[in-house]
């Protein structure tokens, strides 16, 4: 039975409440909060990139409190080993004698904050990769499923790149969104100074529990994706590849099919947040930049020219029409 707008009413209210709560904690980051909620509802992992002190960690902790889900934070360092995040087998005395018992690591939580993910070695990053993609951890040949829901919100710092291990493209592709945390303007800073005290954590009200979140995520899957919108997503992703669009001349490697799936999922989540039972072109346009910007690699010449991934995606959205049909020359736009 298809969803109705009435069915979504309670979900929309809960999401509004969550949005309101997060906006009350993190000032001036409405768009970041909106996209973070969208990413969560789309069951995606999010990579936050920004300078220190902009509220990345605070966003995650506030989110965990508001959602009442188990949260763990991992500070990634170069000496961090895969076992440190996945968990290790520990030799224990049991009734059957001595045997290895798996001790779950910090990945076993609903929401994992992977702080400064690019400081860990590729080996550790790879362990996180499996967990993010398959939502399970394999230790000594034994698979341990991760709790549901499971989200990774990773952060990385665009400065102090010495001694870091840039995330490989394959791992970047596993993040649904890459969000850039913008700097606050003077008005926002004034508001922060007036309402916050250093060292004192703000009080965050719980607005929903894990079950409600799970119900909402289930509803996201039921959101209707019209064929024309799916076609638009396909053409957008295809347009990032060589010779498929004008913009693609400045792109070295385009987005993967996972990007298309991510766009569809994120568009559905956004539609639900707006209380609609169907995703639309506007939803796709709104999430295109966070979904695609970390999935394309620019040509050297484009980088030298100062083009950014964001600009390229914006141009792509302008170039690819929503509907793939021509207009007769006997007619013109008003």
């Amino acid at each position: 039975m298809p969803l109705s707008e009435q069915d979504l009413q309670s979900h929309v209210e809960a999401i509004d409440q969550l949005r309101k709560t997060l906006n009350g904690v993190l000032f001036g980051q409405e768009n970041l909060i909106e996209l973070t909620i969208t990413g969560l509802l789309a069951r995606g992992h999010i990579l936050l990139e920004g300078l220190p002190g902009l509220g990345k960690t605070e966003l995650v902790t506030s989110l965990s409190k508001a959602l009442q889900i188990e949260t763990k934070r991992i500070q990634f360092t170069p000496d961090l080993l895969p076992g440190d995040i996945t968990g290790n087998p520990v030799l224990q005395e049991t009734e059957k004698g001595r045997e290895f018992v798996f001790q779950p690591g910090p990945l076993f939580a609903n929401l994992v904050l992977a702080d400064e993910i690019n400081r860990a070695s590729p080996k550790t990053q790879s362990a996180l990769l499996e967990a993010m993609q398959e939502r399970r951890v394999t230790v000594l040949g034994e698979a341990h499923p991760l709790p549901n829901p499971f989200f990774v919100l990773a952060t990385q710092n665009p400065i102090e790149l010495e001694g870091t291990y840039p995330l490989p493209e394959a791992q970047l592709d596993r993040f649904l969104f890459k969000l850039e945390v913008p700097r606050n303007n003077a008005q926002t800073l004034e508001r922060i100074v007036n309402h916050r005290e250093l060292g004192i954590e703000p009080k965050v009200e719980a607005v929903m529990d894990a079950k409600t979140l799970s119900d909402i995520m289930k509803s996201v899957r039921e959101i209707y994706l019209p064929g024309v919108v799916a076609n638009y997503i396909a053409r957008l992703v295809d347009g990032t590849h060589t010779d498929q669009s004008e913009v693609a001349q400045r792109i070295r490697f385009g987005a993967s099919p996972r990007a298309a799936l991510s766009m569809a999922s994120a568009a559905k989540a956004r539609a639900l947040m707006a209380g609609r039972i169907n995703a639309s072109f506007e939803d796709v346009d709104a999430i295109a930049i966070p979904v695609l910007q970390h999935r394309i690699i620019l040509e050297y010449q484009a980088r030298i020219d100062g083009t950014t991934n964001t600009l390229i995606i914006e141009e792509l959205i302008e170039e690819i029409p929503h509907q793939d049909i021509d207009t007769p020359i006997s007619l013109k736009e008003k």
Partner: protein
Amino acid sequence: MPPSERNPAWRQIARRSQLKINLAWWLDRFAPLLTISSMIAAVLLLYLRSQDQSPSQNTLLATAAGTLALLAITAWLRARPQFISEREVYVQLDQQLHLHNALTTADHGIGPWPALPVDKVSNRLRWHWPRIATPLAISVILLLAAWYIPVTPQAFAALPPASQPLAWEQMDNWLETLEESELIEEPSLDEVKEKLEKLRAQDQEKWFSHSSMEASDSLRDSLDQQIRQLGSNLEDTERNLNAFQNFSEQMTDATKNQLLQDYQKAMKQLGLGQLPLDSKLMSALKSLDPSQFSKLSQLSQKQLDQLREQLKKGAKALKELQLAKGGNLPGFSDQDMIAFLMQENLKGPGRGGIQRGPGEAPITLGQPNDLNTNNLSAVQNQDLSHAAPGDIIATGKTEHDIDKSHQGPQSAGAVKSKGQGGDAIWKDALMPAEKELLKRYFTKP
């Protein structure tokens, strides 16, 4: 509007848009077909009119209607793949009205039909009238031009030009006068006519060629000479007859003999030549004996008067022909001709008038050493339709592309000219491997 009535209302709006867009597609395909067909029709119409076979108005209308119907069907068949469906119109309406694909969803039976906007839904696309009207206007103009533009049927165009060599016109006039006078034997005149027609039968382009003009002049001069001779003989004959008739009694025998000899000589000449006298007249004259005129036993005075009158008339007619043989153009008097020839700007080679020019040949009166052969000038052939293969269109001064760089004897393998800049580096400094690498790099697609 209640939700149950929204569906038909949206459908009506969608169908209206669909019809407009599909009609535009049809017009897009129809317009070029119409323009091309109009061009072909215009050419065809002009051709038919030039052949003096203008179709009747009914035929024209029926053909036009049939062609239009055929074009319309062809345009429809070609435009059909581009026709937009009602479902696609919903997508467009979603975009136009910012409905977040609600209409598309409703059309798939997933969600409810959205409420109709308060304002009337106008299509985001409007007609591009200049684009639509231009091919139609071109077609109409072409067809109207082809129908109304004055065209000379080819039958008239094929007539020989009004202008023909003057000598022919003169000979025509003379022959006509000779025919009317009935003085000359018909076969003789036919012979001259035949020669004239032979000249006319050649290509019009050759009428004024040098050889044709020479032949025409020669024929005319010959005819002129014979007419002159005939006139003179007729005059002599008439004069002799007059003398015998009226003054024979006062003449001495010696005078009579002299006149008789003159008469017989004239009679003899009248029977000879290319223009012999008419046989009836000739036999009548031969039957006369001038020495017996005074006795009037053979012919009455009246009959003799008539014969003389006929000879006199013939001689007069021929004399008039002689006077008119100057050949001035009709409406162009001698005074006009003199004034024309005296014009200052007509001096120079080849501008002399009808017969021969007053101008001088450049070789005789120009600089003795300057034969005008050193100047190269472009030949302008403005009427290229008559240009034959091999005709010179233009000449000019050009120079052969010769490598003037000095190439003296050099040892095997040595390069004498190293060139400059990158060329010198290429020849002197680079190793073969480096050259190969650079070649590959710069020729890489």
